[in-house]
């Protein structure tokens, strides 16, 4: 089966400028720097990483909300990187996005009915007044909202309900691809599970392909078939969830998994590998392997030659010259039971 989305060598640099009237470029934030992966139809791909590692930028590049500096995004075999006008509008029917902040992603001056009905209005679907209202109320029911709240405004809803509104809007056009950009990180923990389960149910019901972006590893484990780990604008490890969580090969993946809290008091005191230092500035990333400044296994080679993503015998692909061994994974306390 051919992949639904192909991302190749995607690069996004945000220029840093100085000066007010005459701006000159003094550098660039390398938000995404050469990312390649495929998204298979029907799967859920998780993208994890720390704040600022380029997860959201990647999502916005796929959605064409940002223009890539270079690289290519294909959707169903068609290069969409430079589409414009009506061609782009046609592709946008096929892919939708759920946003992180349920408060700023809904227009405060519009009713829920017109927010969820907006995709119909834009694409000229469900033209009749009654027809559109019925379609919107059906969607509201699908995501667990009371259809009678059709004429209410966003401020009258809670965070979880607002996120459901966002989901309904994204599903209105029956897209093939749904990108969820940290859809639950702004919600209460008690509400998170509801929204996550809703997303899972909808994925099954509509046969959606989902890209799920998060910084919470256990949420990603719960949701995703495949997981990509990003660090400073690059994918450091990508592979099936079980393989990646059970036997992480990149030291960064290992460190992330080691930091996941475990709700079991008997695990108290077990060794953890915690990283020291902060994430380097993406405006001036370290040479070669970007992780070498914080990596416990770093050697001279790491700062001179960039590791490429390579197939590991454990089932994932990792970009590391000195991948973790099984003993090391045991030492740092990664619990494959997770």
């Amino acid at each position: 089966m051919s992949p639904l989305v192909e991302v190749r060598d995607l690069v996004k640099h945000f220029p840093i400028t100085k000066g007010i009237v005459f701006q000159r470029r003094v550098g660039a934030v390398q938000a995404v720097d050469g990312v390649s992966f495929d998204i298979e139809p029907g799967e859920t791909l998780g993208i994890v990483g720390e704040t600022g590692c380029g997860k959201s930028t990647t999502a916005r590049l796929i959605m064409r909300l940002l223009e890539p500096t270079s690289g290519r995004v294909s959707f169903e075999g068609e290069d969409i990187t430079h589409l414009k006008g009506s061609r782009l509008k046609a592709v946008r029917r096929e892919m939708q996005m759920i946003f992180q902040d349920p408060y700023s992603s809904l227009n405060p001056r519009k009713t829920i009915g017109s927010i969820i009905g907006e995709p119909f209005a834009i694409h000229g679907l469900e033209k009749g007044e009654g027809e559109r209202k019925r379609a919107v109320q059906e969607l509201m029911e699908t995501v667990g909202l009371n259809p009678e709240h059709y004429n209410r405004y966003p401020h009258e809803f809670s965070g979880g309900q607002r996120q459901r509104i966002g989901v309904a809007r994204a599903l209105a056009l029956k897209p093939k691809l749904l990108i969820a950009d940290e859809p639950v990180s702004a919600l209460d923990v008690s509400i998170q599970a509801q929204v996550l389960n809703l997303l899972r149910d909808l994925q099954r019901e509509f046969g959606l392909t989902v890209v799920f972006i998060a910084h919470d590893l256990s949420v990603v484990r719960h949701m995703c078939d495949r997981v990509a780990v990003m660090y400073l604008g690059k994918i450091v490890e990508i592979g099936p969830g079980d393989a990646l969580y059970g036997f992480p090969r990149h030291p960064y993946t290992g460190a992330l998994l080691s930091a996941v809290p475990v709700a079991d008091p008997s695990h108290h005191g077990q060794a953890r590998r915690l990283l020291s230092g902060d994430v380097p500035s993406p405006a001036n990333p370290p040479s070669a392997c970007r992780f070498h400044t914080r990596c416990p296994k770093a050697q001279e080679l790491c700062s001179t030659r960039e590791p490429l993503l390579e197939e590991m015998d454990s089932g994932t692909r990792a970009a590391c010259h000195f991948p973790l061994t099984r003993e090391e994974v045991g030492e740092i306390g990664v619990r494959s039971a997770g």
């Binding site: 009237v21 909300l65 996005m97 227009n107 995709p119 667990g144 009371n146 405004y153």
Partner: protein
Amino acid sequence: MSIGGAEVLPSGGGGLEFLDMGGDIAAQSPLQLFWRRFRQDRVALASGGFIIFLIVLAIAAPLVVKGLGLPSPYTENPNLTDSFGSPLGPTAAHPFGVDQLGEDVMSRVIYGTRVSLEVGILGTGIAAVIGVVLGLIAGFYRGWVDTLLSRFTDVVLSIPILVLGLGIGAACAVRGCLKGSIQPGLGEILFIIALANWTYMYRIVRGLVLSLREREFVDASRALGASDARIMFREILPNLVAPIIVYSSLLIPSNILLEAALSFLGVGVRPPTASWGQMIASATPIFNTAWWYMAFPGIALLLTVLAFNLLGDGLQDALNPRTTR
């Protein structure tokens, strides 16, 4: 309250039950919320009432004048001036007195409402439309479009508007300017007012758009396939309604004053058409003997400007409840 009670009660079926919680609480549109707050502001409410009265007065001016038994504002009556040519003061037949030509001042003040409101509302409307559209474009597209428009605005803002008004008045006095698109009289004044005032609206709108365009609902709309125009006018503009209304209601009185000033200086509305500013101007030389000729149009101007300013303040408070005075 019933909401508090609902939370305490054990809900059997899990979280989804809560979604129905607000079922019996009536939904409130922003308009209803605004009205509920505005209703409590007596001063603004009275100002609004006075402005509605003025609008009715302006529309129905001929009827009102006739109903009060006053002569039309253009009826000159030499019998109403004394042997030195000084006009007579207020009497039962002419409550506001008459002017040098024997025209009834009250009737002229009533007709003057028409000019003031027309200039105030129409001039502000034109200025607001220009400012809002250009502000939306500049704030939305940023970059060189913004730079160009903003520098142009700076240039317009540095024009001394009264001097320009006098210049245009002199140049367009006879046949109009720009192939007749600027006619002497009202057209001239509207042109000057629109030119002078769109810049303020532009700056406010541009600033707000710069921040609004970064909100995620703009991205959401774009992801759905919305065009730039749709995002600007259907997504961003509704969020600007409150500041635009507030700012317009504060621009109206300053435009009424500008019209009065221009008419006072002899630009724009010309006799015999009645305008408050022009009446005050022609009352100046005889103020010592005929105070009423200046006093009544002056009071009308003062009350109108005051009412619009107070209404603007009231709208500001009711539309932006978070700001405190």
